[in-house]
């Protein structure tokens, strides 16, 4: 496994390889470690993750019968949705060099508002309001960070507290929607795939294109690298930072609505510590909290890794607190393997930039 990962975890600039690697021509022009280039895209990092995941699945499938059942796979797909949506939003914010700690609270608020309003409004409209609420919170976060130049960590930490409070102010008790229609979003399936999973995949797909193929997306990534360079290039830095937080808010709002629909009841207390999983997925996917570095596909792989760890620990019937112990150790092992692969390919642990490396 380690061996195969050697080819995977080249530090590269994941986000970068999306946009600027010219499609076609000269598939492997750079002398260096073997890289996997398909249709002009450098998929080395992703291939490494694929190997890791296949290994995971192979081991799981051969050791527990319960893993490769349709029911379990569907579970896995459903359980990824919340972390997945939050992770994509988080990634856009992390790319700008920020962070959004408020997502868990937004999940609670959007869900409870959507559930509460569904009593009086048509279900889709109520859900849209929930989504809009999340978007609005994201906008406020973004404005505080970009316009007033406040530290993202404190702004979104304060938002975490405030929005959680507002969720309780809206309704202290759980809200159980009456209309059957409210539950559809969370339980409907399209063939073998849950609709909620498809929505998340769509977000990653569209979001991936946004980040890699649109001016605004590329600006976000560049801002994380050097905001001043971007500003001097005539690009509005503030606007893009606001956009990133708004996207994160919208993703959290969407996640909240889907979660409420899936659980069938909206609780104001839901979503505690959701932000940690979302951030973990990004960082497992190689994103740097210093900004400017992160990959949509690898973040998705990070989400999958986290979901698999949880799922397998349950299937192996590991007791809850040993689950916690193992989960932490496995995460460290995963990034260690990634890093070791990196060391090998790079020849040396890039001592020229330990500061950055430590942050990434």
């Amino acid at each position: 496994m380690t061996d195969q990962l050697t080819t995977s975890a080249q530090p590269a600039e994941p986000a970068d390889s999306d946009g600027s690697a010219p499609p076609g021509r000269r598939p492997s022009r750079r002398p260096g470690p073997p890289r996997l280039v398909v249709a002009g895209r450098d998929l080395t990092l992703e291939a490494g993750f694929a190997v890791l995941l296949v290994a995971f699945v192979a081991i799981a499938g051969s050791t527990t019968d319960a893993f490769l059942t349709e029911g379990n796979l569907t579970n896995l797909l459903k359980q990824m949705v919340t972390t997945g949506l939050l992770a994509f939003g988080m990634l856009t914010v992390i790319l700008t060099g920020g962070i959004d700690l408020s997502v868990g609270s937004v999940v609670a608020f959007s869900g409870i508002v959507a559930a509460g309003l569904s009593a009086g409004l048509p279900v889709p409209l109520a859900m849209l309001v929930g989504l809009a609420a999340g978007t609005g919170f994201g906008l406020v976060n973004g404005v505080l960070v970009a316009r007033f130049q406040l530290a993202p960590f404190v702004v979104t930490l304060a938002a975490l507290t405030t929005i959680r409070g507002l969720a309780f102010v809206y309704s202290e008790t759980p809200v159980a929607p009456e209309k059957e229609g409210f539950f559809e979003l969370g339980s409907a399936v399209l063939g073998p795939l849950p609709v909620s999973t498809l929505i998340m995949l769509a977000v990653f797909l569209v979001g991936g294109i946004f980040l890699s193929r649109t001016p605004a997306g590329r600006s976000l990534v560049a801002i994380g690298g050097s905001a001043e360079t971007v500003r001097l290039a005539g690009i509005g830095v503030r606007r893009h930072v606001v956009l990133a937080y708004t996207i994160s808010g919208a993703c959290a709002g969407l996640a909240g609505v889907i979660l409420a629909s899936r659980v069938g009841i909206a609780q104001p207390s839901v979503g505690t510590a959701f932000e940690l999983d979302a951030i973990a997925a990004c960082v497992i996917g190689g994103a740097s909290l210093a900004g400017g570095k992160g990959s949509v596909r690898a973040t998705f792989a990070g989400v999958l890794v986290l979901a698999l760890i949880n799922n397998l620990l349950n299937l192996y019937d590991v007791q809850s607190f040993w689950q916690q112990v193992l989960k932490g150790l496995i995460i460290v092992a995963v990034i260690l393997v990634q890093r070791t692969g990196r060391f090998r390919t790079a020849g040396a642990p890039n001592p020229a930039d330990p500061g950055k490396a430590r942050l990434s």
């Binding site: 579970n75 459903k78 008790t173 339980s187 607190f321």
Partner: protein, 299 residues
């Protein structure tokens, strides 16, 4: 309010409520039941929330004492014991009334709460009757492992089912965190690894509601029945509607909360009171659910 003393002189009291956490519907309902009752009795309430932090609970109580309240009602939730809280109340000479949670150590004035093991037992007996030919019963715990309320309930169920013929118990490895989304996730995992579950017991109704949704999504609502604890309004409704949610053990936050307030006032009035009061937890099924269902209740 200016934080002034109530004092027994004018007959109006100020009573503090120290909540360990308000982020569960049950504890939240308790807090509101106390307030509602206080309104009726013309008692002023100062309520605090420690957000799940034991040290903050202690300092909240100290804050309450700074405000010179006459007595403190402690809703300790999952907290096992809070010596610092009880000590400072004792030192200040203020009555401490515990609701729901009885602390293992320390001196308090009075406790009002349920017998969790009995609730579990009662659920277990119900399930044993329901599954005369045996079957697989899944247990969904709230966690974390140091939560003795949940443990008592599960122990009760186990005690009742262990000797029942043909019953197999399956404990979910992961905790449901007492919430509906947690219950959903845990149930989904259980359903994936166990194709033959006949019944589910959850340590509270919130998790059971989530579990019920997971069962419905898996299309197994005709095969699996659920049993919970608490009497949360949504659960009562599900029972009343004749779904596969069959039973819950009433652990009425409304009742416990208002009894707690009454008890505090009685103590302040100098009445002689019982020290420990176990509030009965009737079994709620479709037959009697209407009696307890109050969509506008505090819980």
């Amino acid at each position: 309010s200016s934080g002034g003393a109530g004092g027994a002189g004018d007959g109006s009291y100020t009573i503090g409520v120290a909540n360990f956490t308000l982020s569960g519907p049950y504890f939240n309902g308790m807090d509101r039941a106390i307030k509602a009752r206080a309104e009726k009795k013309d008692v002023e309430i100062v309520s605090t929330d420690a957000g799940g932090d034991a040290a903050k609970l202690a300092s909240n109580v100290e804050d309450l004492l700074s405000k010179n309240v006459d007595a403190v009602i402690v809703s300790g939730g999952p907290l096992e014991s809070a010596p610092a809280v009880l000590n400072s109340l004792k030192a200040a000479g203020k009555p401490a009334v515990l609701v729901d949670r009885k602390f293992q150590t320390g001196t308090y004035s009075s406790w009002i709460g349920p017998d969790n093991e009995a609730i579990g037992k009662q659920n277990g007996e119900f399930l044993a009757q329901r599954l005369p030919n045996g079957g697989k019963v899944a247990l969904v715990k709230g966690g974390p492992a140091d939560n003795s309320i949940g443990r008592a309930r599960t122990d009760g169920v186990k005690a009742a089912l262990e000797n029942a013929p043909g019953i197999e118990l399956v404990e979910a490895p992961d905790f449901g965190n007492w919430s509906s989304d947690g219950g959903l996730n845990v149930m989904e995992s259980l359903l994936a690894s166990h194709a033959d579950i006949d019944a589910v017991f959850c340590e509270n109704d919130a998790m059971c509601l989530g579990a019920q949704r997971a069962i419905k999504d898996a299309g197994r609502d005709d095969k699996i029945v659920l049993a919970g604890v608490d009497g949360q309004a949504e659960a009562l409704k599900a029972i009343l509607d004749g779904t596969n949610y069959l039973v819950t053990g009433l652990n009425d936050a409304d009742v416990i909360g208002s009894l707690g307030l009454d008890r505090a006032v009685d103590i302040l009035d100098g009445k002689k009171t019982e020290k420990d009061t176990v509030v009965p937890s009737p079994r709620v099924t479709k037959e009697n659910a209407r009696k307890y269902y109050d969509p506008k209740g505090n819980f």
